[in-house]
């Protein structure tokens, strides 16, 4: 009971031990080789809870090097608490440079959004995935769903989408909208709004998906075909907003609704905070933008 606080517990660069990183990199390589296929991997406990991005953090920890520049977003924003926490984690355990600018990052870890600024070759987008199995809510058993993927048996998914149309007049899936990868695997794009699905298609960036609790990794190598499931007479379409961002006047971006008062008045602002800031720096002003830029911390 005399151990000093300094030597009782120590950690490796980027937290994971090197054997574990190698194991995860192997799973990533396999995922890249078979786009859209869910590779089982021996997911580790991480120092943040399961369901809070442990899959994404393991992927990032396995590929990050001292020269990387990391950006972390949650709901599109760099300043949401969990994004702040994960960014601080990598600053602490890997001492890497961090940024909020999409264009400057080499690795972007994300939850629920793809940045509005187009990604470029050489960038890696790491998604945090809660439930990697797109068929899970149609068939709860892993033993069954793996078989369905193996046999390319996706009828159940099409029936689900058809039933949506029969019942609601439209496909009632707004996020985690299933996609087909390279004409083979049906894949869960993680709970990004379907607005972001087209950005995955033939992206020049490498896209990696990590699901820690469910112990799966999957990947989209650059320029992979990613097609949202639909029907000829009910083609896939993304959300549209009737008004531009109230702060930066951006159109054709994903907006968050902000409640302004207890009468239910609201405004719509960019979900991608970096994109919004950049536009305001360039002098774009929305209807409700303050006169001067608010100080950033």
């Amino acid at each position: 009971m005399t151990a000093q606080p300094t030597d009782i517990a120590t950690y490796n660069f980027a937290y994971l031990d090197e054997q574990t990183k190698r194991m995860i990199r192997r799973a990533i390589l396999k995922g890249i080789a078979i786009p859209g296929y869910q590779v089982p991997f021996a997911s580790r406990e991480m120092p943040m809870p399961y369901g809070w991005g442990t899959g994404g953090v393991q992927v990032t920890a396995s590929i990050i090097g001292p020269d990387d520049v990391l950006k972390v977003i949650d709901q599109g924003a760099d300043d949401t608490t969990n994004a702040v926490s994960i960014r601080a984690f990598f600053k602490k355990v890997a001492n890497v440079a961090v940024t909020t600018e999409t264009a400057k990052a080499t690795i972007i870890q994300t939850r629920h959004r793809i940045p509005e600024h187009p990604l470029t070759s050489g960038q890696v987008l790491v998604y945090q995935v809660p439930i990697p199995e797109p068929l899970r809510f149609l068939e709860p058993r892993e033993t069954e769903t793996r078989k369905m993927h193996a046999l390319e048996e996706y009828g159940l998914m099409h029936v689900k989408l058809y039933e949506d149309i029969a019942r609601h007049g439209r496909i009632a899936t707004t996020y985690a909208y299933p996609v087909k990868v390279e004409g083979r695997y049906v894949m869960d794009p993680s709970p990004t709004p379907k607005f972001d699905n087209p950005k995955m298609h033939r992206s020049p960036a490498l896209q990696l998906f990590g699901a820690g609790r469910e112990k799966r990794i999957y990947a989209l190598p650059p320029f992979t075909d990613v097609v949202s499931l639909d029907f000829e007479d009910h083609p896939f379409e993304v959300q549209t907003f009737d008004q531009p961002c109230a702060l930066c006047a951006a159109e054709n971006v994903y907006l968050d609704e902000v409640i302004l008062d207890d009468h239910g008045d609201h405004m719509f602002v960019c979900s991608d905070t970096d994109h919004c800031e950049k536009r305001r720096e360039q002098g774009r002003r929305g209807d409700l933008a303050p006169e001067t830029m608010e100080p950033t911390q």
């Binding site: 089982p40 406990e45 991480m46 809870p49 399961y50 809660p130 112990k215 907006l255 919004c276």
Partner: protein, 370 residues
């Protein structure tokens, strides 16, 4: 007026400073030392070691105090540390028959070789609060046995002589035991893997499932053949040496549940077994584990799978409290991007619904909804 919010970083830092303050509590009360926790909250320490899958009392005590006594949080801290430790190797299978036994009871035999040994148990205590503990009075030293204990063969070995109980499970010679911390889980599982998962499973979850088997959801007529608690030797094979190297000892609780079985197309009438083994002293957990283990062997014996406790994928996928707490609590994280998408859909569907109900007032409603 809304402006883009900044300051999450400062808010988190302040929240953690407040947490540290609340964890410490009133500064005029002396801080807990780890040895106090190890010595006086030993069963809590055992639970953290068992479900944290790391046999280290000092670290478990540190985790408990850091977690303010929240056991699942403490287990989580230990798991997140142990997962970073490199593997040197795997010990030989422990021999619980050679255990240095401190407690051993059997419910199937009145007396048996080695005898019944109550040991340090809550059983037969009257659950009356003891004000003497609050005053911190002295505690008398316990009686020590005068001589070495007799050999204490496992009760399964005694029953096996008559051939009435299934033998210890055998794995093929070349079978390499699985490791759930190094390999992804796959269903269906081999029993060695399943037992590992049960052994680190949540005590409360296994207790409830075990209880459900007693109440008729996959009843398997259990008797406690034996529960034993004590120290077992750990030995490691080192490639350069011709003998196994002793590493020390660990305290474990083992439960052998003996279950009646009428026989099926796959197996003759005999007693079957459920097995529980956990780090430290926890009969409740070891017994619940044994009940679940037996229930999960349903297909092995050709029994109908009719209840939750028999469903391997259901039980094992949900037994890990670190996974469960993370995913349940992640609902606290922001979901406003997805909620926005759903809000938009519900508004549109609601407008269409109202239009159908009210005939022509579509446009107005939609205006109002936007």
């Amino acid at each position: 007026m809304y402006v883009a919010v900044k300051g999450g970083e400062a808010a988190i830092a302040n929240a953690h400073a407040l947490l540290a303050d609340r964890r410490r509590g009133d500064r005029s009360v002396p801080a807990l030392r780890l040895d106090q926790i190890v010595e006086q909250l030993a069963l809590g320490v055992d639970r953290v070691m068992s479900e944290g899958s790391l046999y280290d009392r000092e670290l478990a005590a540190l985790a408990i105090v850091q977690a303010r006594g929240d056991m699942i949080e403490a287990i989580f801290l230990i798991r997140a540390y142990r997962t970073t430790l490199p593997r040197f190797g795997y010990t030989r299978a422990i021999d619980t028959g050679a255990m240095l036994v401190e407690r051993r009871v059997s419910a199937t035999y009145k007396d048996l070789p080695g005898g019944q040994l109550l040991g340090p148990t809550f059983d037969y205590t009257h659950r009356l609060l003891d004000p003497g503990l609050a005053a911190g009075g002295d505690v008398a030293s316990p009686l020590q046995r005068a001589s070495e204990a007799d050999a204490m063969p496992r009760v399964s070995a005694i029953l096996a002589r008559e051939g009435l109980i299934e033998p210890d499970g055998d794995m093929p010679q070349d079978h390499i035991p699985g490791d759930i911390t190094r390999e992804p889980l796959e269903f269906p599982m081999a029993r060695d893997i399943r037992l590992q998962a049960l052994s680190r499973g949540d005590e409360g979850f296994l207790l409830a499932l075990g209880y459900s088997t007693q109440r008729g959801y996959a009843r398997n007529h259990p008797f406690v053949g034996e529960v034993r608690i004590g120290e077992v030797e750990l030995e490691l094979d080192v490639p350069e040496l011709p003998f196994a190297v002793p590493l020390g000892s660990a305290r474990v609780t083992e439960c052998q549940m003996v279950n009646q079985f009428k026989g099926s197309a796959k197996a003759p009438p005999q007693f079957t077994r459920g097995y529980g083994l956990v780090f430290g002293q926890s009969e409740r957990k070891a017994m619940a584990m044994a009940l679940c283990d037996r229930a999960l062997r349903a297909t092995e014996f050709g029994e109908d799978v009719v209840a939750a406790a028999q469903d391997e994928e259901f039980v094992i996928s949900h037994s890990d409290n670190v996974q469960a707490t993370g995913f349940v609590e992640h609902l606290k994280l922001p979901h406003y991007v997805d909620f926005q998408a759903e809000l938009d859909l519900v508004r549109r569907m609601r407008a269409e619904h109202d239009a159908r109900e009210n005939g022509g007032k579509v446009e107005e409603k939609r205006e109002a909804a936007e």
